[in-house]
């Protein structure tokens, strides 16, 4: 069995040589499981431009009205017809099947829904989808290049910067933003600038380690 050492693993882990093709098979197995095995196949909306009206045109609400919007998500243009009430978070999750961005509180109090808008980290639960037009939206699904993890993603794996994984997409998007902002000058600064992302499993010390690792070893790629 061939094992490829992970270039990012060293400082966090004595023996994290965990990659390789079989690993990916395991991952795809898990993906199949999480997608429901043979029971039901979630709708895959593909990657092309998609127009997905949420209901027929005769059901326009009395107040307001549906609006046609165009969102650019992970480099792909997506067209939607939405109620203006729809947040960017719910547009991503419920309309574009990008379920990687998580809803933890829906009130801007936990950071699980963090995405990048034009490279800046924001909470998507308090961003109306209609107001995210014209901006480059980057979600957790848009971070890795194919099978190659973004340095921050790789560092989170290496440092075990998560447990249940639910806050993780938000933590990682926030960490990418935090590194961009340059708020990684000390452990204290990382902790403070990552405090907008609640992790109830308590992975904080490992998250700090992961960010430091990503900064020192993955700089050129971030």
């Amino acid at each position: 069995m061939q094992r490829k050492p992970d270039p990012l693993s060293a400082p966090c882990s004595a023996a994290s040589e965990e990659t390789g093709s079989s690993r990916r098979r395991f991952i795809s197995q898990l993906a199949a499981l999480s997608a429901g095995l043979s029971v039901v196949t979630p709708i895959s909306r593909g990657v092309a431009d998609t127009t997905q009206p949420t209901r027929g045109p005769d059901q326009t609400p009395e107040d307001g009205g549906f609006v046609d919007i165009t969102l650019r998500v992970n480099g792909i243009v997506r067209k939607l017809r939405v109620d203006p009430r729809v947040t960017l978070l719910d547009a991503l999750r419920e309309r574009l099947d990008l379920q990687g961005t998580k809803k933890g509180c829906d009130q801007g109090a936990c950071g699980a829904c963090t995405v990048l808008l034009d490279g800046t980290r924001v909470v998507s639960c308090l961003t109306l989808a209609v107001m995210a037009q014209g901006k480059e939206i980057t979600t957790i699904e848009g971070l890795a290049k194919g099978d190659e993890l973004h340095p921050v993603q790789a560092a989170f794996v290496s440092c075990d910067g998560f447990q249940c994984g639910y806050c993780t997409p938000g933590q990682i998007m926030s960490a990418v933003g935090c590194i961009h902002e340059g708020h990684t000058k000390s452990d204290t600064q990382i902790r403070e600038f990552m405090s907008g992302n609640i992790c109830r499993c308590g992975a904080y010390p490992n998250i700090v380690d992961a960010i430091k690792l990503a900064v020192t070893q993955g700089k050129e790629a971030i």
């Binding site: 829906d106 963090t114 909470v123 109306l128 209609v130 107001m131 935090c178 600038f193 990552m194 405090s195």
Partner: protein, 325 residues
């Protein structure tokens, strides 16, 4: 969240010409949150993000901050960090990095109280439904105000930035259908008295275009101290904005305000007055801080804020002025 229509304002005139059923939206961090829980239910949202209320500039007239600038951006502008550290620190102690990236200065100054009764439409609240009552007086009021409490409302104002700006005598610049005007931020916030639903001296259709802070050299000797249960991402139990004009160990002038304790950002001119002409010492600071709470009316759960206010002020004064002469 009630249904609404959405409009992107192309000009300030277009924005200020909208009706009373409309609400302006910039960052949306407070408004969208409150709309989701039906505490606010505008029929129309007017997106003002395209308007030209931008820029952070410093000249002899003072520091001008465009209302649409983001909190995170303003906090790290060199002029702000160097000449008005209390503003920078208040901003950086606010909310979270993500929310500071989203929230505008104007929106921050307009944010609504965090009182739980206000935020829950199933409960009475005089601020939300005038005359419906205030359960906080006999209920959960640990986080509530001890200063400026009337008979109708005891909710605190949540902004940290506003505390720093009120301390520094900042003015707020407004533009409305009748033109532009500027008033002291301290006067912009209204005491709840019998009309807690009216929080600001703002007219229908008026828009905050920016704030202006007088340019005073000694404001660079200032700090914002925020005390909270949690180390980060929380509203203040108590906070202090302090600026001191010092001549060696003598205090020539002072600007002081407190947060987390008042029904509005609480300016403390008498505390400042008590410091002027005094030599810095812990005793001087403690004596002045005593004055801060003289009109305090603590509620059933927040009596500790009387002590905490005095201690917070003293600690901030020691931090800015030095404790030992």
């Amino acid at each position: 969240m009630k249904a609404f229509s959405y409009k992107l304002a192309g000009s300030t005139d277009e924005a200020t010409g909208t009706g009373t059923q409309s609400a302006f939206i910039a960052g949306g961090t407070n408004l969208v949150d409150l709309m989701k829980i039906d505490v606010m239910d505008p029929k129309e949202l007017v997106d003002i993000n395209q308007l030209p209320m931008r820029g952070v500039t410093l000249d002899n007239n003072g520091l001008r901050i465009g209302a649409l600038e983001k909190m995170a951006y303003v906090a790290e502008q060199p002029d702000v960090v160097q000449h008005f550290p209390v503003i920078s620190q208040a901003l950086l102690k606010s909310a979270s990095a993500q929310l500071r990236n989203m929230a505008s200065i104007g929106g921050n100054l307009m944010q609504r109280t965090r009182c739980g009764y206000f935020r829950d439409v199933i409960m009475p609240c005089n601020k939300r439904v005038p005359g419906s009552g205030c359960p906080a007086f006999t209920g959960e009021n640990r986080m509530h105000a001890i200063l400026g409490v009337g008979n109708a409302c005891c909710a605190t104002h949540p902004s940290d930035l506003a505390v720093a700006l009120v301390a520094l005598d900042a003015s707020i610049n407004l533009q409305g259908p009748k033109g532009t005007r500027s008033i002291k931020l301290d006067d912009f916030y209204l005491l709840p008295k019998d009309t807690p639903n009216r929080e600001h001296a703002i007219e229908p259709g008026e828009l905050i275009t920016g704030v202006t802070v007088p340019h005073t050299n000694w404001y660079q000797r200032s700090a914002y101290l925020k005390i909270r249960d949690r180390e980060s991402y929380e509203f203040a139990l108590c906070s202090a904005a302090v600026a001191l004009d010092m001549d060696a160990f003598m205090i020539r002038d002072a600007r002081i305000a407190a947060g987390g304790v008042g029904t509005k950002p609480w300016k403390l001119p008498e505390v400042a007055q008590a410091l002027i002409g005094k030599r810095v010492s812990q005793a001087t600071f403690e004596q002045a801080a005593e004055i801060a709470a003289k009109d305090a009316h603590p509620l059933s759960q927040n009596g500790f804020k009387v002590t905490l206010l005095k201690r917070t002020l003293t600690r901030a004064l020691v931090q800015v002025g030095g404790g030992v002469a």
